[in-house]
Each structure stands twice: as C-alpha cells, then as structure tokens.
C-alpha cells in the first residue's frame, strides 16, 4: 500500500474503473449462471430415476406406459439430450424456468411465492448477526482480558453450533419448556424470533471473531494512538476509527454469509415449518423435480452474484482506499 500518485485525472480514472467494474460483474455473473445451469442440467440427469416418473408422482405411482410416454412428450424428455440442453438454455435465457414436475406449476411462480419468506429470514438473520457481533466485539474491547476471553469463547462456541441442533434446543427451551415463543414460524414477529436466532447466532460467532480481531488491531494502531494524543476518548476512538475498520472484513464476509444462510435455511425452514426456498430445495431434490432444483439453484446463484457485487460495492464505499463510488 504505497502512496497513490496524486490526483489529476483521478476522477476520470475512477469513472473508467467503475465502468470496467460493472461490466466485469455482469459478465462474471452471466458466466456463473450459465455454468450453474449446465452443471445442474447434467448433474441431475445422472441421478438414477426416470424424470417421467417424477412427473407422474414418483416411482410409487403405477402410471401406465402411455401415461409415462405422454409425460415425456409433454416435458420434451423424449428429445435427444443436446436438444433438451440448448432448449433449456434458450428458455432460461428468455426467462422461462419451466414447470415444476411435482407441483405442476410454473417454477417462476412457485419461486415468486417462496423467495419473500426466505429473504425475510436471511436478511433479519444477517442484521441480527451483525448487531450481535458488533455489540460483543465492542463490549469485549472495553472489558479486560477476562471479558475478551469470554467474548471470544462465546463467539467460537456459537460459531461451532450446528443449525439443526440449535433449533431443537431453542424449541425445547423457549417453546416447550417456557412457552414464550411459538415453535412454528409464521410471519408474525414472535414466530420469526426462533428461526432468526437459529440462523443468526452461529453467523454472529463467525463475524464476531473476525471483527474483534480487526477492532483490536485498529485500537492498537498508530492512528488510534495519535487520535488519543489528540484528546480523543476511548469511545471516540471506537466510533470514529476502530469500528469502521472492523466493519470492512464483516462486509466482505457478508456475501459469503448470505450464501451459507441459504444452506442454513434448508434446515431451519423444515424444522420451523416455514415456507421458503431452502425447504423446497430439499423436497425438490428428493422428488427429482429437475425444473425446481434448477430454478432454486439459479436463483441462489443469481442472489450470490448480486450479493457479492453489493458487498464489494459496500466495501468500496466503506473503504475509500479502494477508490470506490
């Protein structure tokens, strides 16, 4: 990190980099989507089990030969693979995600219904995790060695807790034993508490570890020293200097975190009986519902791409050194 050459066409350069940045993101994103679509297309087809059966309600069905043939025709499964593949790509390109085998509904429509609840869950979890991580980090920097040890212990343990276990324990505690909160998740605030907590706690652990390290580093850094020498109070150092530095890795992690939240949603949504992407993903894979799986995969991939772009952007905004805006 050595001095940037002084301004002078700097703004122009930024405009240039910005444009390149945007283009890069879009290009990369498209590539990822294509790759995911392709991977899923071939991956799923290698899974034992005739798609036509999936359409006819699973292998348990005593669907007649003609019924199966009918289904194959309807879903174009009788065409050669490459035709199906390019057809698939074309349809995806034109925004057509196809029709779910098991639900017999347009995948886009189904996803449309499932995205909001999962989004609510993920966003809240992320927010709560951030809040927790920050609070703990800040408190620990204020308290002495013991506090720090306690905080880091807390973080490490919560980061290690498996979602499904945490969920069970929380239900056991707050729903069954104490009866404070509903065990089933509705969109009512009360119903959201447990699922959000389940997702947020482990995440908070991860974020916290990283943030606290950087927070400490910032706190001991020369610029903190000169701030103190300027008469800045510890709180001042925290608010005006350290926190911002601590936020950077947090932001960088948030992109990744969002992805992991999706995986977490699979478990949480089925335990708390919450409609959402995660749950449908599980059922879709077990039902060999190729269009659904593809849809969910593409959606989450797209989400990932977008989130990544945003967290990158956020990072640039929070860290002027990256010459963002």
């Amino acid at each position: 990190m050595h001095p940037r050459t002084l301004a002078g066409g700097r703004s122009a350069r930024i405009a240039g980099t910005a444009a390149r940045w945007v283009l890069g993101k879009i290009g990369g994103g498209l590539f990822v989507l294509w790759a995911v679509a392709t991977a899923i297309f071939f991956g799923i087809r290698m899974i034992p089990g005739d798609p036509a059966e999936a359409i006819m309600g699973g292998p348990g069905s005593q669907a007649s030969a003609e019924a199966l043939a009918q289904a194959r025709a309807d879903y174009g499964l009788d065409e050669p693979l490459y035709v199906q593949y390019f057809g698939q790509l074309w349809r995806l390109a034109t925004g057509d995600l196809g029709t779910s085998y098991s639900l017999k509904l347009p995948v886009a429509e189904v996803l449309g219904e499932l995205v909001p609840p999962t989004l609510v869950l993920a966003v809240l979890a992320l927010a709560v995790a951030w809040a927790l991580a920050l609070v703990v980090a800040v408190l620990s920097t204020r308290s002495g060695r013991l506090g720090t040890a306690l905080a880091s212990g807390l973080e490490i343990v919560s980061a290690a807790v498996p979602h499904f276990w945490l969920a069970s324990v929380l239900i056991m505690l707050f729903a069954t034993a104490l009866g404070w909160l509903p065990p089933v998740s509705t969109n009512s605030p009360a119903g959201l508490v447990l699922p959000v907590a389940t997702l947020a706690l482990p995440l908070a652990g991860f974020l916290g570890q990283v943030m606290r390290d950087t927070l400490d580093a910032a706190h001991r850094s020369p610029f903190a020293l000169s701030a103190r020498a300027r008469g800045e109070s510890e709180t001042g150092v925290l608010l005006r200097h350290s926190l911002r530095h601590a936020a950077l890795p947090g932001i960088a992690l948030s992109g990744w975190a969002f992805g992991s939240l999706l995986s977490g949603a699979v478990v949480v949504e089925s335990i708390f009986a919450r409609p959402g992407l995660g749950r449908s993903l599980l059922s879709a894979v077990t039902a060999r519902d190729i269009p659904m799986v593809t849809g969910v995969a593409l959606l989450s991939a797209a989400a990932y791409v977008v989130i990544m772009a945003f967290s990158d952007l956020a990072e640039r905004l929070a860290d002027p050194r990256m010459g963002g805006s």
Binding site: M1, P3, R4, T5, L6, A7, G9, A12, R13, I14, G16, T17, R20, R220, S221, P222, F223, L225, S226, A227, R228, A229, R230, G231, E232, S233, E234, G236, R240, H241, R244, H245, A318, D319, P320, R321
Partner: protein, 551 residues
C-alpha cells in the same frame, strides 16, 4: 532554569511492562521555546518515554515518576478525563510515518478537525476554516482539496505535514515529535524539520525524538542520549556533538558515515573478525580505464514503465546507463520513486527492460532467456533492505547457506558444515548462528547472514539495495565496514543503492544520481559531491545532514 516555568518537567520517570522495565529514572525539562532532542537506538525506550508523558504509555504498562509536570499541571494520577483535556490541547504528539498515524479511512480534514472539535473550539464552519488555515500553515498546496483527501492519496511529506497540522491545531505549549522525519526522503525531511523549527521559534517547547544524531543536530538546543531505558548523557547540542563524554555517545557519533572517507572504519575495530581473518587485501583490481577488461556490469539506455490501472503507463526508469568496474563500487542515490530499485531489478535480470540492455562481464544478460542466465547467476549476488523476508521462514541460517552453497541441491547443513562455518565467520557471525532461525536474529545479524548467502556462490558482483536503511546507526556502521572489508578482500564489485547521501559518499567510487527514473548526474564520487552540477544534486546535498562537527 527558573525564569519561565518549564513546560515539561519529569523526574525519575520509570515505565515497565509487566515485570520488564523499559524506562528507568529518566529526568527531563523543556522550557518554552526550547527544543530537547531525545536520541537513542531501537528499544532504548525513547518512544515509551514520550508516550508516558501524555499518559499513553500503552496497555499493561506501569508508570511512576517523582515529578511529572506537563504544561504546569501535575500529571501524576490524573484522571483519563483530565488527561484528555491536556492531550491535543496543551500537548501535541507527532508520530513517525503518517500513513499509519492518520486513519487511512478518514479525510485529512476530519482528522485535523477532531482535535479542534474535541476541545470545543468554534463552530463547524469556523473549524473548517481553521483546518484549511492549518494545512496552509504547514505548507500544503491547495489546502482545501487536501482537506478532502485521504492520507493514502498524499505523498509521505504531505502526510507528515498534515499530521503535524493535526498536532498543532490548538497550538499546544508542548509538541512531542517521535521520529517525525524518519520515513521521509532527505529533501522532504529537511523541509519538515524546518517546519518544526518554525513552531519552536513561535514559542512552543518541543521534545524531538530520533534515532539519528545528525538529524536532530539542526533543530535541538539540548540533546539527551538514551540507551537501554536510561539517559546516559545530556547536554547542549554543541557539547554533545563536539565533545561527547559517554562512550555510547562517542560510538554513535563515530558510526555516522557522513564525512568519513572511503574505507575509513565506522565501527569499533573489534567488531568484525573478517578484518582479522582477511589476508593482505589485494589491491582493488585495476583502476577504471586502465585495462581492456570489460566492466563487471554495464547497462545501456535502460527503460522500463509500469501499467497503472485506468491511467497512462508510469515510466519508472528512463534511458539509464552505467558501467560498474570489477572491484569497484557504483553508488546509486535518489529519493523514493526515483527508479533505483527498478534499475537494480533489471540489473539482476528479474525484470526485463522495455528498451536498452544489461551486460554482465561483457556478455548479454538482460537479453538472454532466464534458462541461460541461470548458469551465470552465481557470479551475481544481491542483498536487500529487509533480509528476513528474503529468507524462507522454514529454514534455519544453516539451511539457508547450505541451499545457497549446494546451488539448491540440498538444505542439509551437515553436508556443507565447513563452508558454512567459514562463511559465517567471514561475515562476523558465530558458528552457533547456523542452528538458529533468521527470525530470531537481530537486524544486523540478519543482514550479515544475507551477505553470507550472497557470497556463497563466490559472486564477483553484488547488488546492494538499501542494505542498511532499516538498521540503527551503529549496526549500519558495522555492516558498511563489513562490506568494505569483503570488497577489498574478495575484489567484489558493488552496485550500491541508497537514499542516504552520506552512506553513498562513504561507500562509492563513482555515483549515479537518479530522479524520477532518470540519471541527472553521474561521475566520480568526490567530484559529484564537491562540485555538483545538477541543481537537484545540490538540493540533495543541502538537505542531507551536515557532517557532524568534532572528529
């Protein structure tokens, strides 16, 4: 000292971290308008002393003093709140390397404004105006824009000025400057020192902390020399520089290369066994021009530029040429960004020139593929500013040397025990060092080890890139002496790169003065230094600390 009450009075200050004392019985006084310089080498405890004076000795520290008066306040057992009202207000602290001392995420203006805001001076608008005023005062052009920039966007000098601005925002009675110029190029450093001198002239007292006697010479009224946590000698600048009493002070002064002729010892003679081990130094091989033999290393009109994202390529080196004769030293001097290192890397064949060529002993060097260079590399060695990072962290000193000796065939020290011992003694390291990991060695020892490694393949040319810049004066002296002896003994040719004129002058037969990628002046050392042609050379010379008086 009774007339004006001293701004700072410390008696028997002691600071310790945990069980280990770092500062012992330090007593200081600074009067208004006086500048006291606290001089010492790494770990002498000078920085800690400085910080204890504003109650920031650091976590886990215990500070005690018989007296600690800051700006008329008895600072012993002050509450944090009380301390805060003093810091920045009555006392300003200036740290070294503003890149890390200013928050890289915040605008310069904000950083300065903090000082004002914290001590509640004036409205936002008023403060904004004051900030610009300050920036102008510390000599920054276009202060309005500067205020809105990040420290990362400023050059080292500007940054330092900005930092100073933030420290003097409320023109404090006492300014503590901790290595304020260390990270800066000579010319810039000079300017910054002038700025500080100006402050002092304006009446505020100053505590100037530095590792370098010659730097403080210009500004300081009084000098206190610190060693291992104690002040070993205090006195007026003239007295200390002219007639040092304490052996440590003497050694420090002796170590300063400024004004010491070529080959003159800088360190106590006992320091390097190489000298003892050395046979009668074979006279440096034939003087330039005298023989037909080709130069050891020669460069013809080298050019190299680098890509800058979203901008025109940045020309790091433009049309540079030189000839390094066997057994001689060619000094390359210039400030940061002058292209010294780029030139060195091209000479080392690590970087392909865009134009021009490098020849090694008359043979094409830069032009041939690496595969062909490889066989000839043993004749060309290199040492760097930061030796540690050039060692494999997993290897012990012995392994490093074994690897070098065996041309990479083995890293088993036992295979080359003999030669390793030789090399170590040659560079003045004890044989036990072989077993140690470079990370556990001192800065000087690391550089010696680096030299040993460079010598292992029996090179005839050594490229030294700022080999002593990171070392304390006394250590620097030893290493320079060592290089001298090795040259005389082994007839090595040095391409010696440094930003420090006095070091260059002491080490080189001929010099190359570089600026912004170009050679502005070159020639035989003495003539260049005594009769500089190019204005830039003159500026450099003017800026570099004067030869210390009294030898």
């Amino acid at each position: 000292m009774n007339a004006p009450a001293p701004i700072l009075r410390v008696e028997n200050l002691g600071v310790s971290f945990g069980e280990t004392p770092v500062v012992l019985d330090v007593s200081l006084t600074v009067d208004p308008g006086e500048c006291l310089a606290l001089v010492g080498e790494s770990g002498s405890g000078k920085s800690v002393t400085a910080r204890s004076l504003i109650g920031l000795a650091g976590p886990g520290s215990t500070v005690r003093a018989d007296a600690l008066e800051v700006a008329g306040v008895d600072a012993r057992g002050l509450s944090q709140r009380a301390w805060r009202s003093i810091r920045g207000n009555k006392v300003g602290l200036i740290l070294q390397d503003a890149l890390t001392s200013l928050d890289p995420l915040r605008r310069i203006g904000k950083e300065i404004d903090d000082a004002l805001r914290l001590h509640g001076s004036g409205s936002g608008a008023a403060r904004a105006a004051r900030v610009v005023e300050l920036l102008a005062a510390v000599g920054l052009d276009d202060p309005v824009r500067r205020a809105s920039q990040l420290s990362g966007e400023l050059s080292g000098g500007m940054r330092q000025r900005a930092l100073i601005a933030s420290a003097i925002a409320l023109d404090p009675a006492l300014v503590i400057a901790d290595e304020p110029t260390t990270a800066l190029d000579a010319t810039v450093a000079a300017a910054v020192l002038d700025l500080l001198a100006g402050l002092r002239a304006a009446g505020s007292g100053m505590l100037l902390i530095s590792h370098d006697l010659s730097t403080v010479a210009k500004v300081a009224d009084t000098i206190a020399v610190m060693q291992a946590g104690r002040i070993v000698e205090t006195g007026s600048t003239e007295a200390i520089l002219g007639d040092p009493q304490h052996p440590y002070t003497k050694a420090l002064l002796a170590a300063v290369p400024a004004g010491k002729p070529r080959f003159a010892r800088l360190s106590p003679a006992t320091a390097s066994p190489a000298a003892v081990a050395a046979p009668a130094p074979e006279a440096p091989s034939a003087a330039p021009g005298e023989s037909g033999q080709p130069p050891a290393l020669s460069a013809r009109s080298l050019s190299r530029s680098f890509k800058v994202p979203g901008a025109a390529d940045f020309p790091a080196v433009k049309d540079v040429g030189f000839e390094l004769l066997p057994g001689r030293t060619l000094g390359v001097v210039g400030e940061s960004g002058s292209g010294k290192t780029t030139t060195a890397r091209m000479a080392l064949g690590l970087l392909a020139p865009d134009a021009g060529s490098v020849h090694l002993f008359g043979e094409p060097w830069s032009a041939v593929p690496e595969a062909q260079r490889r066989t000839r590399r043993p004749s060309l060695g290199a040492i760097y500013q930061d030796p540690l990072s050039s060692f494999d962290p997993r290897h012990s000193a012995g392994q490093v040397l074994a690897d070098a000796l065996s041309f990479g065939a083995t890293r088993n020290p036992r295979k080359h025990a003999g030669r390793i011992a030789e090399l170590l003694s040659l560079v003045g390291l004890a044989p036990e060092v072989a077993a140690r990991n470079p990370a556990t060695l001192s800065g000087g020892q690391r550089q010696r080890l680096a030299i040993a490694r460079a010598l292992a393949p029996n090179p005839r040319v050594l490229i030294c890139d700022e080999p002593v810049s990171a070392l304390d004066v006394s250590i620097q002296a030893q290493v320079l002496d060592l290089l001298d002896e090795l040259q005389r003994r082994l007839g090595l040719a040095y391409l010696f790169i440094s930003h420090d004129l006095s070091v260059i002058r002491h080490m080189s037969d001929a010099v190359l003065v570089m600026r912004a990628g170009e050679v502005v002046e070159s020639g035989d050392t003495e003539s260049v230094f005594t009769a500089p042609q190019h204005p830039y050379t003159r500026a450099l010379l003017a800026a570099s600390p004067a030869p210390t008086p009294g030898r």
